[in-house]
């Protein structure tokens, strides 16, 4: 479980995160949603330690990450996996080498075991056959799947995904969502996904945190969104006429029952 307590982050005089206290639960797909510029990525960077909060705490199973020493943080990070918006694959390495990289760095396995583990991870994301290709030779969706395989190679306890569906078509987005949800359940990982993809929100969101202008505006499950009276949330989720009408239909259908 990851918990933030009164988390604030400012850049000079600009306050980006305002007093965020929330809990991200184990074995669930936790979603951080919000408009562009609302502070989602800054919140995630604070969670993983790429940015230091101005004040507040980030607790990993009760351990305060912000107060940890540099070496403790390095050790802690080996329990984390992260999928970046751009996939962030090492472009000088093949797909297999990318997935093997964390194993090469931190595992005590021999080469055969490391290769087998990497191939298992690639198999889990349905990428067997692409192991000798370079990141520049595969599609955006495949790159995201390689990033997932790399992130789970060391069996992390916490998985962070920064807009994993960005730049992908709806069908590929669903594949990525299914993969992330499947992996979360399979390995009982605390997964935090930063997204503004409404399909992900309604499809895999088990614990959703809505950030509005740097503060936590709402927290709940995907099925609670339909009946939420929070206008900022509903304006954001049901921004298009199509979604507004769909919501109306769902509510009317439920009322007639």
């Amino acid at each position: 479980m990851i918990e933030t307590k009164n988390l604030c982050k400012s850049f000079e005089s600009r306050e980006v995160l305002k007093d965020i206290s929330t809990v991200f639960e184990d074995g669930k797909t936790n979603l951080i949603i919000g408009q562009s510029g609302s502070g989602k990525t800054v919140l995630m960077k604070n969670l993983v330690g790429l940015l230091d909060p101005t004040s507040g705490q980030v607790l990993y199973d009760g351990r305060d990450f912000v107060a940890m020493s540099k070496s403790e943080k390095v050790h802690m990070r080996r329990e984390m996996g992260m999928i970046f918006q751009s996939a962030a694959l090492f472009d000088s390495m093949t797909v297999l080498e990318n997935v093997m990289f964390p194993l090469d760095m931190f595992s005590t396995m021999n080469l055969r075991e490391r290769t087998k583990r990497a191939m298992d991870c690639l198999d889990r994301v349905n990428l067997v056959g692409a192991e000798e290709k370079f990141p520049g030779e595969i599609s955006g969706g495949m790159q995201k799947r390689v990033a997932i395989a790399r992130a789970i190679a060391l069996n992390p306890k916490y998985l962070f995904c920064d807009e994993p569906n960005s730049g992908l078509d709806p069908k590929t987005s669903l594949v990525i969502d299914d993969l992330l949800q499947g992996i979360t359940k399979e390995f009982n990982i605390t997964t935090i996904i930063n997204t503004h993809d409404m399909n992900s929100v309604m499809g895999i969101g088990e614990n959703i945190v809505f950030i509005y202008e740097g503060h936590k505006e709402w927290q709940g499950k995907s099925d609670e969104i339909m009946h939420s009276t929070n206008t900022r949330l509903t304006d954001f989720i049901f921004a298009s006429d199509l979604l507004k009408n769909m919501r109306q239909l769902v509510i009317e259908k439920e009322n007639t029952k």
């Binding site: 090492f90 760095m105 931190f106």
Partner: protein
């Protein structure tokens, strides 16, 4: 104000270097990168070093023959001055200035692109000391390969001079040989290698710092690449003055 700005940059450079010079997490991975960097930064530069050294050696020899040699000068003066220029300045300082352009921009743009595409962040998240993993093999690779480049450069420069004698018939080969052997001090060879070690450190660490600390997008990567070449060239020239004074 400008002094404070440069002091802040120096401070950040020292912090990055402090992180760079730490024991690698996995020696096997370090040696793999080290060999790769030696090939990429050093071995791949041999061609341009040989080409430029050959022609500069030839041109120096021709210039010396045409402009210095006279009935009042000994006949070995062209060979002697060609050797001294190649050994003392060209093969160490000028060659490193050329390499600052080739290797420096390569390092800065590689690391800068890794920074803006979040590859360095990905390393940090994994718990890897990204500065040590990425920069240390480049510095060690350049330091290792540089003496060989200096020796190759000097030798090829002399070959260029011989080409003017044998092919261009600018001066008799015997006169050139006499000049090349005249008052040879082996210390000058060592001086050249020692100087090149300092320059190798500059042309690998300064661009690495410029690339590693890029913020923003591709425009800033280009700017970092230019800054890297300009800064390392200025530092090479500046330190050349001190090193020449110190080692002479």
């Amino acid at each position: 104000m400008i002094i404070l700005k440069y002091l802040a940059i120096l401070g950040r450079y020292l912090i990055v270097m402090g992180r760079t010079f730490s024991v690698p997490e996995k020696m096997r991975m370090f040696f793999k990168s080290y060999v790769k960097e030696m090939a990429q930064l050093g071995v791949n530069s041999i061609g341009i070093v040989l080409l430029i050294s050959f022609f500069i050696g030839a041109v120096i020899c021709i210039q010396m023959k045409l402009n210095i040699q006279s009935p009042w000068m000994p006949r070995w003066v062209s060979g002697y001055t060609t050797r001294e220029i190649m050994l003392l300045e060209f093969s160490s300082s000028i060659m490193c200035l050329i390499l600052a352009g080739k290797v420096g921009s390569n390092i800065a743009s590689e690391l800068g692109t890794m920074r803006v595409t979040q590859q360095i962040d990905a390393l940090e998240i994994m718990g890897v000391n990204s500065a040590s993993y990425l920069i240390l093999p480049k510095i060690m690779g350049m330091l290792t390969i540089m003496p060989f480049l200096v020796i190759f450069s000097s030798a090829t420069g002399i070959l260029g001079a011989y080409a003017t004698a044998y092919v261009g018939h600018v001066l008799p080969p015997d006169d050139l040989t006499l000049g090349l052997q005249h008052s040879f001090k082996p210390w000058f060879m060592w001086m050249s290698i020692i100087k090149s070690q300092f320059f190798a450190f500059i042309i690998s660490s300064v661009p690495a710092f410029c690339g590693y600390t890029v913020e923003g997008g591709s425009v800033n990567v280009g700017k970092a690449s230019t800054d890297a070449v300009v800064t390392s060239s200025v530092l090479i020239l500046f330190s050349d003055v001190f090193l020449t004074q110190l080692l002479s």
